[in-house]
């Protein structure tokens, strides 16, 4: 694949104004598919969750999943949308092997949610309001695997394999209005907007919202308008940009690529483009004009929907606190610096820290443990931090540290025991015999032995060279197998050195 010419980003912004638009697909986590009772599961054996309806076989009759409608309405409400009084499904006709019915059941002129907006905050503090044109329901396509060819990509493949387990899984597609005035922030706006949608879907509980499993997928539309012109440029649609970092990179890439084409006297083709995560470039897919002839028409097998206003208001009452507002509230309540708080948010540990604080721990201690030792262990094990210990277990551990029963070092050992399933922190302290030795008698005996064993050190301490005490403290800590409070040991060493005979 020929590498496209790119213009320097700042130079591109001098010559052109980027205009953006995003289509974000959110896969709902209903138990069953949109129009049939097959399980909506990720990771089952190929083609184990299919039936005549989702395979598009003759005689299959779709039935609307009520929970999916409920989730779509709640998502729409959280995006500030109006909920349509009348809404219906439509067939979007096209031939592609991941769509067994030869049409996608989608919505056309009567989407369930329309006219919303969300405000996102960039790292600079700039607030950007993204207008939502519509959020409509549709069913997902099956999964294609391209075989043969050099790259395993669609280009050059010899044939493809299809697993229809995902075919028919409910999606909500959220479509923005054109976003103008993004300027240099365009890539960050893309990333932050998709992150906000993901966070809202997760907070609502309507989606597992894991981008790596394709629960949230983004198509990014980018066009460039020459400075001083009021005519919109031709846009490209980069498909399936499936991580936050990729959204940022894909927007930046398209701006730089299109700027180079336009500045060189070329024209942009209206087309879909594929994002390549490995190389960080986009490549041309099918031209848009041909594929756009979808011949939408109302789905004859499904009845219209008319969500009652009472139902909508009931659902509105179930909305959680908006994630952005919650973050602001928690950061203020915990008194975290921006970096500390970002660390928690970026590690996806906001819920864990909040629950640990609710279980009685101090916010700083909860943050320190979750983003420190627990994150380190989780990272090494390749699992999520909050799958290792519960907030209640961590709060109990923190309490033992604060009560002086454990040093940080001992607490790390107790944590390992808890993770290994040895019981509560208190139980692990007992069974492993890990509590700090707070009995001065035992400490003094060990200190005296260490001082008498190193008379030269004792002499130095008596001469006022207190830093020499380090050697004795080390020996005592070793004798106590680390289970002593080093500060207390130091105090006692100085005391004993003065009095010991």
């Amino acid at each position: 694949m020929a590498k496209a010419e790119l213009m320097d980003f700042d130079k591109a912004l001098e010559l052109f104004e980027p205009v953006l638009g995003f289509e974000v697909h959110v896969e709902l986590n209903t138990k069953t598919k949109m129009f049939c009772g097959c399980a909506n599961e990720f990771g089952s054996g190929a083609n184990t969750n299919t039936c005549p309806t989702c395979l598009g076989l003759p005689g299959g009759l779709p039935q609307v999943n009520k929970k999916a409608i409920e989730s779509s309405i709640r998502l729409g409400l959280a995006l500030g949308c109006e909920i349509a009084e009348h809404s219906r499904f439509a067939r979007k006709n096209y031939f592609y092997p991941d769509t067994a019915k030869n049409f996608q059941t989608s919505q056309y002129d009567d989407p369930i949610c329309h006219d919303g907006s969300i405000t996102i905050e960039l790292e600079s503090g700039r607030l950007v309001t993204v207008e939502i044109e519509r959020a409509h329901m549709e069913d997902d396509a099956g999964k294609l695997t391209h075989m043969g060819g050099a790259t395993g990509r669609i280009q050059g493949a010899d044939y493809s394999l299809v697993d229809y387990n995902r075919g028919g899984v409910p999606l909500v597609e959220i479509v923005t209005q054109m976003i103008e005035g993004a300027e240099h922030d365009a890539p960050e706006i893309g990333k932050t907007y998709v992150a906000a949608i993901r966070e809202i879907a997760k907070a609502l509980g309507v989606s597992n919202a894991r981008m790596e499993e394709g629960n949230v997928r983004c198509d990014a539309n980018v066009s460039l308008r020459p400075r001083g012109s009021n005519v919109l440029g031709t846009r490209t649609e980069t498909k399936n940009v499936n991580s936050l970092r990729s959204v940022e990179r894909a927007v930046r890439y398209e701006i730089q690529r299109q700027a180079a084409v336009l500045a060189g006297g070329g024209t942009i083709t209206q087309e879909t483009r594929h994002w390549h995560e490995d190389t960080g470039i986009t490549s041309a897919g099918r031209p848009k004009s041909d594929a756009d002839d979808y011949r939408y028409f109302p789905e004859p097998d499904l009845l219209p929907m008319a969500p009652s206003r009472e139902w909508v208001e009931e659902l509105r009452l179930t909305l959680p606190e908006p994630p952005a507002a919650r973050r602001k509230r928690l950061q203020a309540a915990w008194g975290f610096a921006n970096l500390e708080f970002q660390d928690v948010v970026n590690s996806d540990l906001l819920d864990a820290v909040e629950a640990t604080v609710a279980a009685g721990a101090s916010a700083q201690a909860a943050r320190k443990w979750w983003t420190g030792e627990i994150a380190r262990l989780a990272n090494a094990a390749g699992v999520a931090a909050d799958s290792l210990v519960t907030p209640a277990q961590l709060a109990a551990l923190i309490e033992l540290v604060e009560a002086g029963t454990l040093t940080d070092r001992l607490a790390r050992q107790v944590l390992e025991g808890v993770i290994a399933g040895e019981g509560t922190p208190a139980e692990v302290v007992d069974s492993r015999g890990l509590a700090v030795v707070s009995d001065d008698g035992a400490l003094i005996a060990a200190i005296d032995a260490a001082l008498l064993g190193q008379p030269d050190v004792l002499a130095k301490i008596r001469d006022g060279k207190v830093q020499a005490a380090g050697a004795v403290i080390g020996a005592v800590m070793k004798a106590m197998r680390g289970q002593a409070d080093a500060a207390r040991v130091r105090e006692l060493v100085l005391e004993r050195a003065a009095t010991i005979e």
Binding site: N47, N49, Q63, K66, G149, P300
Partner: protein, 98 residues
């Protein structure tokens, strides 16, 4: 008379993946034109206060509860497939090499 053209019929046939001979295109152009004309007569009867409907039934909100029911077995699902590889449907290459 409607304005259905042979080009439109050929395009529609391509979109629907139906292979038509020139003769079939000519006759279908005529037939489709008549159908469109007939349907246009309905518009003469429908007044502005008749809302467009997509369904003859005066029903809305017919929903199913979110309860899993058994699916087909893999063998049943693949039984009508022209080609398969393991438990997956096998289909021809989708895009030509760029």
């Amino acid at each position: 008379m409607s304005e259905i053209t042979a080009e439109q019929v050929a395009h529609l046939a391509y979109l629907a993946r139906i292979d038509l001979s020139p003769l079939e295109i000519t006759s279908l152009t005529h037939d489709l034109g008549q159908i469109v004309d007939s349907i246009a007569k309905v518009s003469e009867v429908a007044t502005a206060d008749t809302p467009a409907t997509s369904h003859p039934m005066p029903l809305t909100n017919v929903f199913r509860e979110d309860v899993v029911v058994p699916s087909l077995t893999v063998e049943q699902a693949l039984s009508g497939a022209p080609d398969r590889a393991g438990d997956k449907f096998r289909v021809p290459a989708i895009l030509d090499e760029e």
